[in-house]
């Protein structure tokens, strides 16, 4: 049972990380109109960042670490996604060369 709960908490961490990362993109996405959009951008970061903190506190040590692992694993996964795409392009280029 504990294992299943840990897994659910881990997945919850990943899902929250998705929203947190998206909100962290805000300053860049809205850079062209940041003068009017900055309150919304900051609010979004605070909401998702705050939610992560708020959720992490009530978990006990065991589940807190699962939750934080969820956040961290997703962050790494996300950061690797872009170089992986670049690699896919290079691989496709090599496949073309071989044809």
């Amino acid at each position: 049972m504990t294992g299943i709960v840990s897994m659910v908490v881990f997945l919850l961490g990943m899902c929250l990380a998705v929203q947190l990362v998206a909100s962290l993109h805000g300053p860049l996405d809205y850079s062209y109109t940041i003068k009017t959009k900055f309150p919304e951008v900051i609010l979004r970061i605070l909401i998702w960042g705050g939610l992560c903190v708020v959720l992490a506190i009530p978990f006990g040590d065991r589940y807190r670490s699962s939750f934080l692992w969820g956040l961290a694993v997703y962050a790494v996964f996300y950061l690797l996604f872009y170089p992986a795409t670049k690699l896919m392009l290079k691989r496709n280029l090599k496949l073309l060369d071989r044809e």
Binding site: Q19, A22, D29, F77, Y78, Y82, L96
Partner: protein, 877 residues
């Protein structure tokens, strides 16, 4: 017969071992009295002796020590030896003497075609075709060198690789060469004694154009097209093309191989009825002589008919298209309207970089989904046929399937992984402002000006998603991807509306989602309408647009002082929309900025029909408001609805989100096309460079190179001689494939649709397709193949088209209904037809061939059928 040079008239059909397939064939034609231009054959024995003379045996022997990957290296050294060595003096003298005889016979200087004539080629399945070279416009001073080039083509990596695979001993392969006078033709063409597309043996198909035949054979012009009835030699079908280019009889040193055809000749018929009879009669004679359907190349010079070649016909059926393709595939319908013509090799290569094979693959230039991989993702238990039908027609007639409990967990894991990959983007684009993507234009401009960006780098920067911290360049593609959420929205809306409000019109959901502001392609349509309004203000401009052909009208307007305001507005329109084109995913397609004729044609169409799109929009708005009232009334019977309207609010919310995502998808496509235009510009710059260096000879040829070949040419590892034949072969294949409707599936069949379809099919002239916009309509058909040329659609006529894209939108304003050869519910034709509230049936194979302009049709947009009523004459044009 040994190494002596043979006149073509001395060779017969059985002399393939001496004169090769082409030589023997031409000799046979001369012997039977066909008017073949004079020429001679350098026999295969001469090639054998030359190889012995230069002691090529050791190099040939060493080939077996190389792996196929290394053939390029060893072949290059063999070819170099052949090309640098001198021919034995006796042989060279005999060749030049035979050439001199040709000159004397003509009584003037001549240019020759020098053709490889393989002793194993043209037998059976012509397996060597395309591996051996042919050279045109060869003058006496280059004759010996070109003959050596032909022999050297035996040692291309492709030819060596093919022989190795077939177990053919390289040391036994030699080649004859045919040297033939090039007739300075005024008209030339190709005739098939059976329809090469349909296989119909009662039809003789001729394609002809001005000048030398190379323009047609190489696929560089769209020729006039004649279909003649075999028995009576009456013309069944005639399409006069706009022949913009011709290949001149003489090629100036360093000059272009293509010359512009004078304007007054472009739309002029190349063949008189008498000429068509003559050509058809010779073609039938050739077929009778050889005993099988023939494909003949011919030319007319000084009124005299010449037969240049006759060979067994290649009928391209779907089996030929799918030959050699392993696996099971289903065509990807949402993209098919952009792929009605197969992509050119270069476009295909660059596009395939963006795909993630093996789920989606380009097969012969068309996009297909791999059944095996899609099947692995979907959690259903069903036969391959059912899966293929689900993928093919998922948006209209999904076959019933059971969920597989074994596959379900894997699907859920797949969905979760998908969420991890794209979840951030889903969240980021949930509420992006409408102007989010506007910055893409600036970025595209910067990339265009930066010489550090080549075609590949431009594609990577603007059309892929390889940068983490780039909100503009990379995200357009992803926005398009995530905006597919509108399909989900449409599904939810349908469930809600049909659950709570019964007996609504068929297109209720589509109507609720119509009328979105800020859709760039709709703005484009309004822009063209605004230009038409501007044109109406000045009589001179209106007259110029109405009375001058679109391709000439710009020059006329530029010489007209009163047209300055119109031209200024046209420039503004092109600055905004100039990256768009017909068949815009194809990089070869000229953009409106480069050639605004299609835009001028559309303006002319608006002027001719005198319709007002804003009236139409108002009508749609009114219909939508009526529908909303009707739904509200129907909801009133539910609890709390009169008081708080919870159901209506939910429907409104889902409709607004669906509209938002649909707008995002459409607008992101607008910017994709801009990205492809930037790639096209980069490619055109490379092409310009290649032409100035002599690496390419004709504009447009670059699109028939493969990407690795382009890279090699840039590096100086590949020259014109190495790609000339490949380009020609690919152009021909592209033309053949373009005339076909792509097979819906490869390696798997679709399920029969249903009993209703069978029943209707049995009634007679009924074409089946897929409903894309509901409603019934009866009217006269108008087949339009190219909206830039044929633009006059009378109000109420039924538009019958091979495909549609935004350039076709103005025609929808005047059409009563639309029937389209390809597409799906989500395709452009369906979207626009629903927006305009007219019936539309898509995915009707061969409808442009089977329906003739002028016949009456009933379009059943509810069930996806088209019934052909009694004809009123007229031909498809």
């Amino acid at each position: 017969m040994g190494t002596e040079i043979l006149g073509l008239e001395d060779v017969r059909r059985g002399d393939i071992a001496i004169a090769g397939g082409k030589g023997a064939n031409l000799g046979e034609l001369i012997a039977k009295g066909f008017p073949v231009p004079p020429g001679f054959v350098v026999p295969a024995k001469a090639c054998e002796e030359f190889f012995q003379h230069i002691a090529l045996g050791r190099e040939i022997e060493s080939i077996k020590d190389f792996s196929p990957d290394e053939y390029g290296q060893c072949c290059s050294s063999i070819r170099e030896i052949i090309e640098k060595a001198d021919l034995p003096s006796g042989l060279a003298e005999s060749i030049m003497a035979a050439h001199e005889e040709l000159v004397n016979r003509r009584g003037a200087e001549i240019v020759c075609a020098v053709r490889s004539s393989g002793t194993a080629e043209d037998l059976g399945e012509a397996s060597f075709a395309g591996q051996h070279e042919t050279y045109y416009y060869v003058k006496a001073d280059r004759l010996l060198q070109m003959i050596k080039h032909c022999w050297a083509s035996l040692w291309s990596p492709e030819a060596v690789s093919y022989r190795t695979t077939q177990g053919i001993d390289h040391s036994t392969v030699f080649m004859a060469v045919v040297v033939q006078e090039m007739i300075q033709s005024t008209i030339s063409g190709v005739t098939f004694t059976a329809n090469p597309v349909t296989g119909n043996r009662d039809e003789i198909v001729t394609e002809s154009s001005w000048g030398m035949g190379a323009a047609i054979v190489d696929g560089r012009v769209t020729p006039d097209h004649y279909v003649v009835e075999r028995e009576s030699l009456k013309i069944r079908e005639k399409r006069i093309a706009e022949k913009k280019f011709m290949v001149p009889a003489r090629l100036e040193e360093g000059g272009s191989r293509l010359l512009e055809v004078p304007h007054d000749m472009r739309r002029k018929e190349t063949l008189s009825p008498d000429m068509i009879r003559t050509v058809s009669q010779w073609a039938i004679k050739a077929e009778e002589h050889f005993g099988s359907a023939q494909d003949i190349e011919w030319a007319i010079a000084d009124g005299q008919f010449y037969m240049l070649q006759s060979r067994p016909i290649t009928v391209m059926g779907h089996e030929d298209v799918t030959k050699g393709v392993e696996g099971k595939y289903v065509i990807f319908k949402p993209l098919i309207e952009n792929f009605t013509d197969p992509l050119t090799p270069l476009t295909g290569d660059l596009m395939s970089l963006l795909f993630s094979p093996p789920v989606m693959q380009l097969i012969r230039g068309w996009a297909y989904l791999s059944l095996k991989h899609v099947k692995a993702i979907l959690p259903f238990k069903a036969s391959d046929e059912a899966f293929a039908s689900l993928i093919y027609g998922w948006d209209a007639h999904p076959p019933e399937m059971k969920i597989s409990p074994l596959k379900l967990p894997f699907t859920l894991i797949g969905l979760f992984l998908g969420y991890l990959m794209f979840g951030v983007l889903f969240a980021r684009t949930r509420r992006i402002p409408s102007d989010f993507m506007d910055r893409f234009r600036d970025l595209a401009g910067r990339v265009d000006k930066d010489p550090a960006y080549g075609p590949f780098e431009t594609l990577e920067r603007l059309a892929s998603w390889s940068r983490l911290l780039d909100p503009v360049g990379n995200q357009v593609l992803l926005v398009n991807f995530t905006a597919a959420r509108y399909i989900l929205g449409l599904g939810v809306l349908q469930k809600l509306v049909r659950r709570w409000a019964h007996d609504l019109r068929e297109d209720a959901e589509a109507l609720l989602c119509s009328g979105t502001e800020g859709v760039l392609s709709a703005e484009m349509g309004r822009g063209i309408w605004a230009l038409a309004k501007e044109a109406k203000k000045t009589l001179a401009v209106r007259e110029a647009l109405e009375k001058t052909k679109p391709e000439k009208v710009l020059a006329k307007l530029q010489s007209e002082p009163e047209a300055s305001e119109f031209l200024k507005k046209l420039d503004q329109f092109l600055a905004q929309n100039g990256h768009r084109a017909l068949k815009e995913l194809e990089l070869q397609s000229a953009r409106w900025e480069e050639n605004p004729s299609p835009v001028l044609g559309m303006i002319r169409n608006y002027l001719l029909v005198e319709s007002d799109p804003s009236q139409h929009e108002r009508k749609i708005d009114q219909t939508r408001q009526d529908l909303e009232e009707e739904i509200k009334q129907k909801l009133e019977k539910y609890p709390f609805e009169r008081l708080f309207r919870p159901r209506w609010r939910l429907i409104q919310y889902v409709a607004s989100r669906t509209k938002f995502f649909a707008k995002m998808r459409e607008n992101s496509r607008f910017y994709h096309i801009m990205a492809f235009y930037m790639v096209r510009k980069k490619i055109l710059r490379v092409e310009e460079e290649f032409i100035s260096q002599g690496k390419l000879r004709c504009k447009g040829d670059i699109f028939f190179l493969r990407w690795p070949e382009l890279v090699k040419m840039q590096a100086g590892d590949l020259e014109w001689l190495g790609v000339e034949d490949r380009i020609r072969d690919r152009r021909m294949e592209h033309i053949r494939l373009s005339k076909m409707v792509p097979p819906k599936t490869i390696g798997v069949k679709l399920l029969e649709r249903d009993e209703m379809e069978k029943e209707i099919k049995a009634v007679g002239d009924v074409l089946t397709g897929q409903s894309a916009s509901p409603g019934d309509y009866e009217g006269v058909a108008h087949v339009i193949l190219d909206p830039s040329i044929d633009i006059e659609l009378k109000p109420g006529e039924i538009l019958v088209a091979p495909y549609t894209d935004p350039a076709w939108t103005p025609l929808f304003l005047t059409a009563g209904a639309a029937v389209v050869e390809v597409g799906s519910y989500l395709s452009h034709a369906g979207t626009v037809a629903r927006e305009f509230g007219m019936p539309c049936v898509v995915d009707v194979p061969d409808c442009t061939a089977r329906i003739h302009s002028g016949v009456r049709l009933i379009v059943d947009g509810d069930r996806g059928f088209v019934r052909i009523l009694k004809g009123e004459g007229g031909e498809s044009e």
